[in-house]
Amino acid sequence: MSLSTQQRTQIERIVGGLLADGKGIVAAVVATTDGMSVASQKVSETLDESKLAAIASSIGAIGAVVGDETGLGACRLVMVQSERGYTVIVEVAHEKTPMIVSIVADASAVLGNVIYEAREAAAAISQLL
């Protein structure tokens, strides 16, 4: 994958911004669509960002298949609501370097805000690619 140092720095800044600004956001990972972490930040020590990158890749791909099979079109977002929070996965549409943004938020987060932040981050990343 061909990301310049500058692009990486910018992506890292976007990831940092997610944790700084988004209430309840405890982790954010930007990865290639085939599951390799590009940039990540987390509050929790127990979360494995490489694993989350690979899992987001699989879930994103399965989301795409769901859209195809149901005839509803491309997958915009996958959200998993767990007992104590949410994981939101959004694709960064880009022909040459498609990526995925995953955000993990605890129960203090407002789901709508997390989705908004994820989409904004994905849009910002697709601009700089």
Partner: protein
């Protein structure tokens, strides 16, 4: 057994998606995305699962699942392997260390293989890359206390994929 599930796993680029496509009666479901690993020399790679269907002579339906190859998707291996009746491991013999590749899957599916799950090994690109030999894989299987057929295959050929499936089903019948 009216509904059987067979899982194709093995090295990235060994042809899991191709194998399922070669025998599936439905348009296979594929979850491949752009590959960003330059060492793999592939445009696309499976990150979720492949799915196809195949009907046996006795009208039983076989569900064919393919796993992602890379070890970072090992969590997907466990999900896909649930309820599987047999495992087909595909190896690409043109890679630097096919036996090391092979061990990744033997270890990754150890829980399943330990329950006497039937296994078949298909070695690809064997004609152009005859080393390591098929016997080398058999010896490796013995180290894991597994007895399973090892055959050279070209998974682009429907007949070769059917051979793998038939070898697997034969083992299943012997178990019953």
């Amino acid at each position: 057994l009216s509904d059987q599930k067979i899982v194709f796993t093995g090295t990235m680029g060994a042809g899991k998606t191709t194998a399922i496509g070669a025998i599936s009666e439905i348009e296979p479901i594929v979850t491949d995305v752009k590959n960003s690993d330059p060492t793999l020399g592939k445009d696309k790679t499976t990150v979720g699962f492949d799915y196809g269907e195949f009907t046996l002579e006795n009208a039983d339906k076989v569900r064919l699942y393919g796993t992602p190859g890379q070890e970072r998707f090992a969590f997907m291996w466990r999900i896909i392997a649930k309820g599987a009746l047999g495992l087909i491991v595909l190896i690409d013999n043109s890679r630097p260390n096919p036996v090391a590749d092979f061990k990744i899957y033997l270890n990754g599916f150890a829980d399943l293989i330990g329950t006497n799950l039937p296994l078949v090994v298909g070695v690809g690109r064997y004609e152009t890359h005859p080393t390591p030999s098929l016997d080398t894989f058999t010896t490796e299987l013995e180290r894991f206390n597994i007895i399973a057929p090892v055959v050279a295959v070209d998974v682009r050929k429907r007949s070769d994929v059917l051979l793998l499936v038939n070898l697997l089903l034969t083992q299943l019948e012997n178990l019953e």
